[in-house]
């Protein structure tokens, strides 16, 4: 079974891209399972179950970081997809963390970016872009061709090895090559590891200490004028 994990900031068109990809994968005889991970609201699982009659699940990460949640549940999700005899598990993440990337070695990492989001966006999204295998650029009909080309160059500056696919997600034009990428990946290995490094340790803010200012916290902290340093025993 193959695994593809899709990330990207909110409202860039992840769901529209995956909808066209699922349609094409089903046409080519692949069996698809779909998992949506979001923080507090999502209905893509119900939409896809209704539209395509495929097995779908969703997880609300709630108090957990959504990419952290992805790592936690992915093992179970792969087993679930296997029991459904799926050929491909597609995971759509909440896509909001600019520090992490949810991709796993042995699976395909897809980021969806919108051409309308400003020329500096590729520089801001960090490992979510640089560790992806494929960057899908949507909303290409909303900007001039010159801007499209410059946006693409900005992606290549940050992530030279990422393959860029421009897609019109309204009509599904340009989806073919993305589907080819998904079909070309090997089956997942038995033991999978997260591709990127998570951020530095657990902090006292993560565990619920809400006071403002590093003086109130322990572990790895930082002040405005200092680099990261360790405070504590």
């Amino acid at each position: 079974m193959k695994l593809a994990i899709c990330a990207g900031p909110a409202t860039t068109g992840k769901t529209s891209v995956l909808r066209h990809a699922i349609r094409k994968l089903l046409e080519s005889g692949q069996r698809i399972a779909f998992l949506k991970i979001d923080v507090q609201y999502a209905e893509e699982d119900e939409q896809f179950a209704r539209e395509f009659g495929i097995p779908t699940r969703k997880v609300y990460s709630g108090e957990l970081c959504p990419d952290h949640c992805n790592v936690m549940v992915l093992g179970d999700a792969l087993r679930w997809a296997r029991t459904n005899e799926s050929d491909v598990l597609l995971v759509e993440t909440a896509g909001l963390c600019l520090r992490c990337s949810p991709y796993a070695d042995g699976g395909l990492g897809i980021i969806v970016l919108e051409a309308t989001s400003g020329m500096n966006l590729p520089l801001k999204v960090g490992p979510m872009l640089s560790l992806a295998d494929v960057a899908v650029v949507t909303k290409i009909d909303r900007v001039s061709q010159a801007e499209r080309e410059v946006f693409r160059a900005r992606i290549q500056d940050v992530a030279p090895s990422v393959r860029i696919r421009e897609v019109n997600a309204l009509y599904g034009i340009g989806i073919g090559p993305l589907v080819d990428h998904i079909r070309a990946i090997p089956d997942v290995p038995e033991h999978m590891r997260l591709r990127g490094n998570p951020p530095v340790g657990t902090c006292t803010i993560c565990v619920g200490k809400k006071e403002i200012g590093w003086q109130s916290h322990f572990g790895v902290v930082r002040a405005l004028d200092n680099q990261v340093f360790y405070r504590g025993e």
Partner: protein
Amino acid sequence: MINTITILGGHGKNGTAEPVQRIDLRMGDVISVVGPTGSGKTTLINDIELFANANTQTGRRILINGAPAPAEYHDDPARNPIALITQHTTFLSDLPVGEFLHTHARIRISDATQRQVPVGRTLDFANQLTGEPIALDSHMTELSGGQTRALLIADATIICNTPIVLLDEVENAGIHRTRALELLRQYRKIFIFVTHDPRIALLSDYRIVMQGGTITQVLHTDMAEQKVAGIVSKLDDTLSLLRDKIRRGERLTMAELETFA
């Protein structure tokens, strides 16, 4: 080397076959696309720009030198032979003009030593089309509609320097059209104008007529129309003169219309 683009007809919005099933556009042709609003003009040039292969809602196919477009046209922007100037009159890009043009030159012009000159020439070209000068340190998002259009036309012609240029209703943008046509005619390319402007239509070699989402006929500019074209240009020049006077806060007199009285 591109010699021809072929448009193979698809179907209209209601599924009926397109009346004109084949048009061959040759290098050096200047073509207009005309038709009422909603007749599918923009969709046609989007089909060309996407190298449609029966995969858009019109079912049209676009051939380059008689064959489907190679995949590298989409994979590598430096190889894309089409520059499309859309109806956008605003930029979303938050860069200064100079940085934007340099970045664009970097992907379109592979030789690093050859990039400086086109950026300067693009700015000069643009500033001949717009009344309000653009500076390299202007922010893209601050440009007016006319400045944006002027910069896009200049960028497509000089930095992209593609063999095919598609221009969607340039007349709406508040640029000097006469100057634009003169400057563009200096470059040997296939120019496709989507237009409502009789001057641009008559200066074209032929025009593609659209109705209800389909191409219904192809009209070549004949001898009679070439005669009309001269008077249309004069009318158009007179109107721009009147427009300029109004802009400057001047009054109009009958004297300006003497040739047409």
